[in-house]
């Protein structure tokens, strides 16, 4: 059977995410419990997590998580890696033997620093240099796959139910300030570990429930700017859209949201002239990055967590707060399971983002609204 990348596989899913606004780290136990309650939303063909703040000892190094099919390809990759990066530390990603998880590939992590001379030689910013390396490995080296590449964060994923994957990766032993999780329900069965969610690029991780109808348009636009959509999944495309708009275009989060889940023209026509001109320009220029069709996503970054729905809300998402905690999940039950008495629970409207930023976030997100308020541009 063809695996992701060779064929496009639609899937339905469960997602859940939680963060502590103050940046206080907590164990991965709760996020496993939360995603486990939505067991029936996935079918055992993929589960995964992303945790932020989990590598305090290597917080300035890029943490590459790899799947290798065999030792030969691992050696090939390490040669390449050594050429372009200095490996600070590497080890197998610790796992626990569990009944439910079978056929695991070789899973390895490397904490690396790009070789500054080579970065300068390449004439591109350091992050771009890292991205290029990731794209190269994932599209050109058969049997190797980088599934996590950010600093002080990591993705953990595989084939199985999410709670079993969490257990397998011993996430209860990590502490992070943001955790996101995903349970997958693909419509056919490639059973490839790389195909599971979250999908990540640098510190951006995306978990996603939906099947976007704009995939072809989004993908062909991104490809113009060097993105290689090796997985052919929506999640990959979403991550690249975030990367393109936020990192490459340097746009603020409200603009990113207005591009991905644009206000409807009838809403735009009611805006004041200045704002109307801005949103019109966003739609005219970034129309190919409008994400159409049903989706509900959770995007994690080092600075916080964003939840976003398609603009006519064709997929569920519920948000809640309790003290310094923000929760977003496909179902309210997934929140109540770990936070029985939230201060506030609400269902965000279509196209209305839920934004949770760390209190000390140093970002160029120049929007005024707090995390629980409807973002200025979409109101």
């Amino acid at each position: 059977m063809l695996r992701e990348g060779v064929v496009r596989i639609p899937s339905g899913c469960a997602i859940s995410g939680m963060m502590n606004k103050k940046g206080k780290c907590f164990s991965g136990e709760d996020i496993i419990k939360s995603i486990a309650i939505m067991h029936d939303r996935s079918n055992g063909l993929g589960g995964g997590f992303a945790g932020y703040g989990i590598y305090p000892d290597f917080k300035d190094d890029y943490a590459f998580h790899f799947f290798f099919d065999d030792d030969t390809v691992k050696e090939t990759v390490e040669t390449l890696l050594n050429k372009q990066f200095t490996i600070i530390f590497d080890e197998p990603v610790p796992t626990r033997k569990t009944k439910a998880i079978k056929d695991a590939p070789i899973i390895w992590r490397y904490f690396v620093q790009p070789k500054s001379k080579m970065v300068i030689q390449s004439g591109i910013p350091e992050e771009e240099y890292v991205v290029k390396f990731v794209m190269k490995v994932n599209s050109e080296i058969e049997g190797a796959y980088i599934f996590s590449s950010g600093k002080n964060m990591g993705a953990f994923k595989g084939v199985g139910y999410p709670e079993d994957i969490g257990d397998f990766f011993r996430l209860d032993e990590y502490k992070g300030y943001i955790w996101t999780a995903h349970g997958r329900f693909p419509t056919n069965t490639p059973g490839w570990w790389g195909g599971a969610h979250p999908f990540t690029l640098l510190d951006i991780s995306v978990v996603h429930n939906g099947e976007i109808s704009s995939y072809g348009t989004n993908r062909r636009f991104l490809e113009m700017y060097g993105y290689k959509c090796t997985l052919q999944t929506d999640t990959e495309v979403m991550a690249y859209i975030f990367d393109y708009l936020m990192r490459r275009q340097g746009l603020s989060l409200d603009v990113v949201v207005a591009a991905m889940a644009s206000p409807l023209w009838m809403e735009i026509n009611r805006m004041d002239p200045e704002k109307r001109e801005l949103v019109k320009a966003i739609r005219a220029v970034y129309g190919s990055l409008l994400v159409n069709g049903p989706f509900s996503i959770l995007v994690g970054t080092n600075q916080g967590m964003i939840a976003l729905n398609d603009r006519i809300k064709l997929r569920p998402s519920v948000a809640a707060t309790k003290g310094d905690f923000l929760y977003v999940a496909s179902e309210e039950s997934a929140i109540r399971e770990i936070c029985p008495k939230p201060d506030k629970v609400w269902a965000p409207r279509g196209g209305e983002p839920v934004i949770g930023l760390l209190e000390n976030a140093q970002v160029n997100y120049n929007f005024a609204a707090g995390e629980n308020e409807r973002i200025a541009i979409n109101s």
């Binding site: 496009r8 639609p10 899937s11 339905g12 419509t187 939906g210 099947e211 976007i212 109808s213 704009s214 995939y215 072809g216 348009t217 989004n218 062909r220 636009f221 490809e223 113009m224 700017y225 275009q249 340097g250 746009l251 603020s252 409200d254 603009v255 644009s262 409807l264 023209w265 009838m266 200045e274 704002k275 001109e277 801005l278 320009a281 966003i282 739609r283 005219a284 220029v285 970034y286 129309g287 190919s288 409008l290 994400v291 159409n292 069709g293 049903p294 603009r311 006519i312 064709l314 120049n366 929007f367 200025a376 541009i377």
Partner: protein, 500 residues
């Protein structure tokens, strides 16, 4: 020359049980096919000049008329067909180039009909346009590499854009090639439905300035009717390099069509032939084109997008890339089936390539070069219905131009005799007796109805695909599957086969 070997192409059948001798057909036939014979006291016909325009058939109050292919046949010959033989008779009699009108009518494959659209089932809901918003707004023009935003405000305006409520515009047809009433019909329909019509190389008649906000003014090789007010009047300027029906060929409006109003509008003496040269004589290369693009931008203070229209020819992808880099904001590509008021028959039927392939090749090429966002693509050349529009956008077009379809809405019956100036439907004629047959109030309504009907259908198709904004269809080739195409054709179109 004494005896002509030409025989009638058509046979008019008059049902005498129905004919009431009202002579409406006699009044209506500009080719004088029908006549009332006083002696016999009945209407008779001589079919030699019949072009099968169907005017008499439609106007006959008792539906007593039908026009058929003449039953007269040459001896069967798969090689020397009747068309081939007749063409030779005409040329043996006239010694001239064979002329024709409208688009290529040869039985080449129609690639639109070899592509099928997708629809959502289960994993992704379809969207009902009657209940949910369905957005077709389209912007044509150069998009900047990035937006400059400060304090929630747009710091730098984006380059000028044409804003379309529906991704369909009326293609270039000049005053001269078609009647003022036909242009008025299209101009009003464009205004009513939030889109644009194109002047062609005919200048802008004084009655049409009020539609300026919905007008694309064309600058072609003859530069007819080009003056400062003209350039300022339109919403965009289009440089016409070529036309799908006659790539590499100029235009010729015979003097008899250059009456007072055409003469005033084109700024040429009454009764003189208006000849558009094959090339622009100030554009012999891509850098010359760039100069004209920027001259026109300069002349209009960089307030209007500049489009460049070319015919789809073999090397169209590279040419389009050059045009984008030369500074054009919009590239209009006209496929080999594109229409015309007059073209040499052999050129029309044998030069150029299908718009489907030209579009796919250009869109792919511009993306490979990373410049697709710098320019908008408008395609033309036989967009026959809303499904063709949807397929064109999925292949990568921003919008389409329609002209033949629009004229059919106004009454054209595709007789292909536009060049004779005797259009019985009041479209391709300057004869005042014929021009008045097209009431622009009715014409505008019919053309606007066509746009609205297609709009509804496009929305239904988008909704079926689970898309609620047209920009998510643009270049979304995953929504297309090829049927009955070769591996190579699929590859060029960039689509998978059905079942894949």
């Amino acid at each position: 020359m004494t005896l002509s070997y030409l025989t009638p192409a058509f046979l008019i059948e008059r049902d005498n049980k129905r004919c009431i001798q009202c002579k409406v057909c006699v009044q209506q036939c500009a080719n004088e096919v029908h006549r009332f014979d006083e002696e016999e006291g009945e209407v008779l016909a001589d079919e030699l000049n019949c072009v099968n325009c169907q005017r008499c058939v439609v106007m006959c109050p008792t539906r007593a008329l039908s026009v058929r292919k003449s039953p007269n046949e040459f001896r069967q010959n798969a090689n020397w067909t009747a068309d081939a033989i007749k063409s030779i008779y005409i040329q043996a009699e006239t010694g001239g180039v064979l002329l024709t009108g409208m688009g290529n009518d040869r039985p080449y494959p129609i690639y639109w009909d070899h592509m099928l659209l997708n629809a959502s089932q289960v994993t992704n809901p379809s969207i009902d346009p009657l209940r949910e918003p369905m957005e077709l707004k389209t912007f044509l023009g150069r998009k900047p590499d990035s937006l400059v935003i400060e304090n929630g405000k747009l710091k730098e305006k984006i380059p000028p854009q044409l804003e379309l409520d529906i991704p369909i515009m009326f293609s270039a047809m000049s005053f001269g090639s078609i009647s003022l009433n036909a242009i008025k019909s299209l101009a009003r329909a464009a205004r009513q439905e939030g889109t644009f019509y194109n002047t062609g190389e005919g200048g802008l008649h004084k009655d049409l300035y009020e539609y300026g906000a919905n007008t694309i003014v064309q600058v072609a090789s003859g530069r007819f009717g080009v003056h400062p007010e003209y350039l300022q009047a339109g919403a965009a300027i289009e440089i016409k390099i070529g036309q799908g029906a006659k790539p590499g060929i100029g235009g010729h409006l015979p003097g008899e069509k250059v009456g007072r109003e055409v003469s005033e509008t084109r700024m040429i003496p009454e009764g003189t032939d208006a000849i558009s040269p094959a090339p622009h004589h100030d554009i012999y290369s891509i850098e010359d084109l760039s100069q004209l693009i920027y001259s026109l931008k300069e002349a209009t203070n960089y307030e209007k997008p500049v489009s460049v229209k070319i015919a789809a020819v073999h090397n169209v992808a590279a040419i389009a890339s050059g045009i984008a880099r030369a500074g054009a904001d919009i590239i209009a590509i006209d496929g080999y089936r594109g229409g015309t008021g007059a073209a040499p028959l052999r050129i029309r039927d044998n030069v150029g390539i299908p718009i489907e392939f030209a579009l796919a090749a250009v869109d792919s090429r511009l993306r490979q070069e990373g410049i697709r966002n710098q320019v908008s693509l408008v395609v033309a050349g036989s967009i026959r219905n809303s499904a063709d529009v949807v397929k064109a956008i999925a292949l990568g077009a921003d919008a389409v131009y329609i002209a033949t379809g629009a004229l059919i809405a106004l009454g054209c019956h595709m007789c292909q005799k536009c060049f004779t100036g005797k259009c019985n439907w009041g479209i391709a004629t300057q004869d005042p007796q014929l021009v008045k047959r097209l009431n622009p109030e009715i014409g505008a309504q019919r053309a606007a109805n066509l746009l609205r009907a297609w709009k509804h259908e496009i929305k239904e198709m988008l909704g079926g695909m689970g898309i609620n904004a047209i920009e998510s269809l643009r270049g979304n080739r995953l929504m297309l599957r090829g049927i009955g195409l070769t591996e190579k054709e699929l590859q060029i179109l960039g689509i998978s086969a059905v079942g894949e």
